[in-house]
Symmetry: C2
Subunit: 156 residues, 2 copies
DNA sequence: TCAAATCAGGACCGCAATCGTCCTGTTTCG
DNA sequence: CGAAACAGGACGATTGCGGTCCTGATTTGA
């Protein structure tokens, strides 16, 4: 229950790595090497984070991604939102598709939103800095279910 | 993101319906008729709720299920836990399977747990009574994606 | 001006977990 | 003893997600 998506995990890993040298411009492949995650996935994650406004991208030969905001300014809510869409407990709440046919007369809806707010608040209270604080030198490679086969390039 | 499972939705629907007559003994098929949900699914939900200790079951000819606890005593956390397992944000936290190979040296882990607690607290604060309060007479049939075909028996 | 590097965006496929159903016991009452 | 109802688990379909790749746009440097 409640498992946040793999993408969100990757986002935290990538951002944590970037937080170590804020402002530095790193390419997607470089990032993949540093984190040990597969390149395409890292690239995708970086793109999502860019679209979410969490990092800045620079095209061209000497391009790359950079963390422009301070780690204390980046909340977990933002990370999750950028990678998985808005934080919402129930399909009922967003009402995006045809999820809830009788949405208008569903009285539970309002109550769920209250819970949603509380959850969102909890996630807002945690920043990237909080998640990064203790892992300065530790190897960052959690959250990979069973893909830990071919040993990571280990910074090659 | 965060979408809680369909089962949890069903659980709330069923429990809300039961909360209207606490102590009354209703069978699974009866419950299905009242809620408009398919019988097998309702039966499954009832079983899970029973196992979770949220309702009591009585076998035999005149058997059925009954809500023994007061609606104010039933928290959302309990409902979710009964139907979907423990509330945990990350695969990292539970550490049940081989999800996290480097769990022991993953420094992010502790921080996620903090978030987990906050989320759990938010869900603990909402009871079944809160979700039931306003829906005394409204038809309860949200959360059904596209299965709203054959109009519900409407209490037959 | 041209070529290389790098990001942007989307399409696509495969897997996995979930959802929903059903079947076979077990218990209780008439 | 038979019917009613719950208990528990097995099983198949489906949806969403995770992961990869391809094509285009943009910038830099020779």
């Amino acid at each position: 229950m409640f498992k946040l998506s793999r993408m969100a995990d990757y986002g935290v890993v990538v951002l944590s790595r970037m937080a170590r040298q804020p402002g530095e411009l790193v390419t997607a492949v470089e990032m993949a090497q540093r984190t040990g995650l597969p390149q395409p996935t890292v690239a995708k994650t970086l793109k999502l984070l860019t679209r979410g406004g969490l990092i800045a991208s620079h095209r061209g030969v000497q391009g790359g991604y950079s963390l422009e905001r301070a780690p204390e300014q980046v909340t977990v809510t933002e990370i999750i939102t950028a990678l998985d869409g808005p934080v919402a407990l129930t399909a009922c709440v967003e009402g995006s598709d045809d999820n809830c046919a009788v949405e208008s007369l569903c009285p539970i809806r309002g109550h769920w939103e209250r819970v949603n707010e509380a959850v969102k608040g909890a996630l807002d209270a945690v920043t990237l800095a909080d998640l990064t604080s203790a892992q300065e030198d530790a190897a960052i490679n959690f959250g990979r279910p069973r893909a830990a086969k071919a040993a990571a390039p280990a910074d090659a």
